[in-house]
């Protein structure tokens, strides 16, 4: 589209080709851009707009400025989303959930990927087997874990009780101090295969002659891992980390199935649904969605700037 100035200095024919190419590119990109604007852009801006209205399901509402977030009520107290303790509790829950699950998933996923990538027998079978948790629909696996945690009949509670960690009638889910970590465990079980798969792809792109050279130079396996594997794996690792972090920050289905709207495991997305669907308030719900969007964006910016991810 914007043709560099020096192009005009070139022979006329070449400039013609360049601009034709640019025009073709625009035409080829247009369908994608239009579809993106329709399915991603419009809903996003609609949500931004609704966040500043008092719309409900039945009533299109009017513009109320920042009232959904924060405003001074007639009696002088501050009210709005930013003063709601339930919202901040959900933020803390989600961040703790994200840090816990992503950390363990990365470590375990890396270990799995290294094992599968090594020359062992039954590698293909192992690679398939490892994907089973990831292949089960989340609602199904969440309900399955819910039953395993059940205090009376569940196997995990039986183990906990025979180890003396739990008393009769207790379960890891019923205690508000352990419930979030019980859910983190479910997420780790479910998503580690995904992490392993992404990292395996990264590992397989490292040329094997590098290891042969390292071998000749007499580097130990540990040294090879830290000096060779890890640096070369880092692009794949960072992409995987960003994927999982954003996913974990948006988590809704699994905690909702297992614990419902329990305050000790309420996540940001569940809070948004509460406002949006249960309370029918499009305005307040969109305000929550906007904050969720900003928080997720903050995490992405931190990753991209501090770790210098390059997307090329």
């Amino acid at each position: 589209m914007t043709v560099p100035v020096d192009v005009t200095m070139r022979p006329k024919q070449k400039a013609g080709i360049e601009s034709t190419r640019a025009r073709t590119a625009v035409w080829l990109l247009a369908p994608t851009l239009i579809v993106l604007a329709l399915v991603a852009g419009y809903p996003l801006f609609r949500t931004f707009y609704l966040a500043f209205t008092d719309a409900t399901f039945e009533n299109p509402g009017k513009f109320v400025g920042f009232d959904n977030f924060l405003f001074k009520a007639d009696d002088g107290t501050w009210v709005g989303l930013l003063t709601d303790p339930a919202w901040w509790e959900s933020v803390v829950n989600t961040v703790r959930f994200t840090i816990g699950s992503v950390l363990f998933e990365t470590l375990l996923g890396l270990a799995f990927a290294l094992v599968i990538n090594s020359k062992i027998r039954g590698k293909g079978l192992l690679r398939t087997a490892i994907l089973v948790p990831w292949a089960i629909p989340t609602v199904v696996s969440a309900q399955m874990w819910n039953w395993m945690y059940q205090d009376n009949l569940g196997i995990l509670s039986q183990w906990g009780q025979s180890l003396g960690w739990l008393k009769v009638g207790q379960s890891f889910l019923s205690n508000p101090n352990t419930s979030l970590w019980a859910l983190v465990a479910v997420d780790i079980w479910k998503t580690t295969p995904f992490m392993a798969l992404l990292l395996l792809a990264g590992l397989q792109s490292i040329p094997s002659d590098m290891y042969e050279a390292a071998e000749v130079d007499g580097a130990s396996k540990v040294r090879q891992f830290f000096r060779l594997t890890l640096p070369l794996l880092s692009p794949a690792l960072l992409v995987a980390l960003i994927f999982r972090t954003l996913d974990a920050l948006r988590v809704f289905d699994m905690p909702y199935v297992v614990k419902g709207y329990a305050p000790d495991t309420l996540t940001m997305s569940m809070f948004a649904r509460q406002q949006l669907i249960d309370n029918q308030s499009l305005g307040a719900g969109s305000a929550v969605s906007l904050l969720v969007f900003l928080i997720i964006m903050l995490f992405t910016v931190i990753y991209v700037t501090t770790l210098r991810v390059r997307f090329d």
Partner: protein, 422 residues
């Protein structure tokens, strides 16, 4: 000339009317999907179709009532005319009532008077009848009659203190042989079910209904605090701590496995508990829930109504279908064939019904003592109110807050949701 024209018009209109009768209209009905719900809906609408020549298309609706509500709210919010008749939960009239057809003049008063009056009142929003009762539900107390006898108790507990004492004694005794045995299970997960359970406690202590009929927020009162304090003390003693993760099925699984002496649940658990393979078959009975100190037994009103879409293109036929399905004959058929609780008191004395489902006789008291959730008074904000209340009770049961602090927080949160009015 004039005569010919009249004749022509008359013939044309007759033909049109004849055609309309032959083809009938097609109604779309968002009915039930739980258990045998869909099949029973189909039987009812088939009979109506055969009678009137109209056709009814039954929709497959979500199983979860919350998801159903979300879907219907979106349809009605968009003023869609696709669905003519909705089956609506007892707490929905306030939430979606504005989009439902006013049936006041369509339902004869004599017919309406045969139904349970609390339900009719619940379905009347601002003087308009917007739904007709179809089948009902109420919280009941299940108890192990064999264990009560074993430990020397003659009858089901009448008060919560009695239940606490009996459950403790049975639990202590049974734990010698079954270390996992527990006294009392109920719905303690933070969801609509906990609102139902907790409302029964609070109301049975005379602590009101969270929000009164004039829209005043009343939940933070000494009687309600006493009720929540009492019931929170159950958790970790006669009830497992994990009761805070139980829903209806969670509680039923424990009771039906024979691991609990008492259970609060809806009537549906009765037939399942008495099914062929159930370990507690014939060993349990149903009673009204206990009363609080200085109060009386309360059962939260559940159940479903039929309502017509205000934007429906066939309001007349829709109303006719509703009147047919909620009528005496169809309710009796459903009670006999599928043990749906009728909303017509007279059917609880009907010999055929009692022969098919004996426990309906003893349940009658439960439905006359039923307490409705404050959905009518809180209108579109009911969900916010319910969630604030159940969260407070949940926080008290998990010992995160004292009952006093929790209910004060609920009062503040509901008042905030109320704003300038419900």
């Amino acid at each position: 000339m004039n005569k010919t024209l009249t004749l022509l018009t008359l013939t044309a209109s007759l033909v049109a009317a004849g055609n309309a009768h032959a083809a009938g209209v097609t109604l779309t009905f968002a009915c039930d999907s739980v258990g045998q719900g869909f099949d029973q809906c189909k039987k009812g609408t088939d009979a109506w179709s055969a009678k009137t020549g109209n056709t009814v298309k039954l929709l497959q609706v979500p199983k979860d009532t919350g998801d159903r509500l979300a879907l219907y709210q979106q349809q009605l919010g968009a003023k869609a005319s696709d669905v003519d008749v909705y089956m609506v939960d007892v707490v929905w009239p306030g939430l979606i009532g504005n989009s439902l057809l006013d049936l006041t003049s369509a339902v004869p008063k004599a017919v309406l008077d045969t139904h349970f009056q609390p339900i009719v009142k619940n379905n009347t929003i601002g003087g308009k009848l917007i739904a007709v009762p179809w089948f009902t539900d109420g919280g009941v107390l299940y108890y192990r009659s064999d264990l009560l006898k074993k430990y020397g108790f003659a009858a089901a507990p009448k008060t919560w203190s009695e239940l606490q004492m009996m459950a403790q004694k049975i639990q202590d005794g049974e734990r010698k042989t079954d270390p996992k045995f527990t006294g009392y299970v109920f719905q303690g997960k933070n969801y609509e079910g906990l609102t139902c359970d907790a409302l029964e406690w609070v109301n049975s202590y005379g602590g009101g209904t969270i929000v009164d009929s004039t829209g005043k927020v009343t939940i933070n009162n000494p009687k309600a605090v006493a009720a929540v304090k009492m019931l929170s003390s159950f958790v970790g003693t006669i009830s497992p701590e994990a009761v805070t993760t139980y829903d209806e099925e969670g509680a039923r699984n424990v009771f039906q496995a024979g691991s609990a002496a008492f259970m609060r649940n809806w009537p549906y658990a009765y037939s399942l508990g008495n099914s062929e393979k159930s370990p507690v078959k014939g060993k349990f009975d149903v009673a009204a829930l206990p009363a609080g100190d200085g109060g009386s037994s309360s059962a939260t009103l559940g159940g479903w109504q039929l309502a017509a879409n205000k934007y429906s293109k066939h309001p007349k036929e829709a109303t006719d279908l509703i009147l047919y399905l909620t009528g005496n004959a169809e309710q009796k058929r459903r009670a006999v064939e599928a043990s749906y609780n009728p909303t017509i008191p007279a059917l609880y004395k009907d010999a055929d019904v009692l022969k098919a489902v004996p426990f309906f006789g003893s349940l009658y008291d439960v439905f006359t003592g039923s307490v409705a959730r404050p959905a009518t008074a809180t209108k579109t904000k009911y969900n916010a109110v319910s969630l604030a209340f159940s969260t407070a009770v949940y926080n008290s049961m998990t010992k995160k807050q004292t009952p006093e602090v929790a209910l004060a927080a609920a009062q503040a949160s509901i008042t905030r949701a109320k704003g300038r009015g419900f």
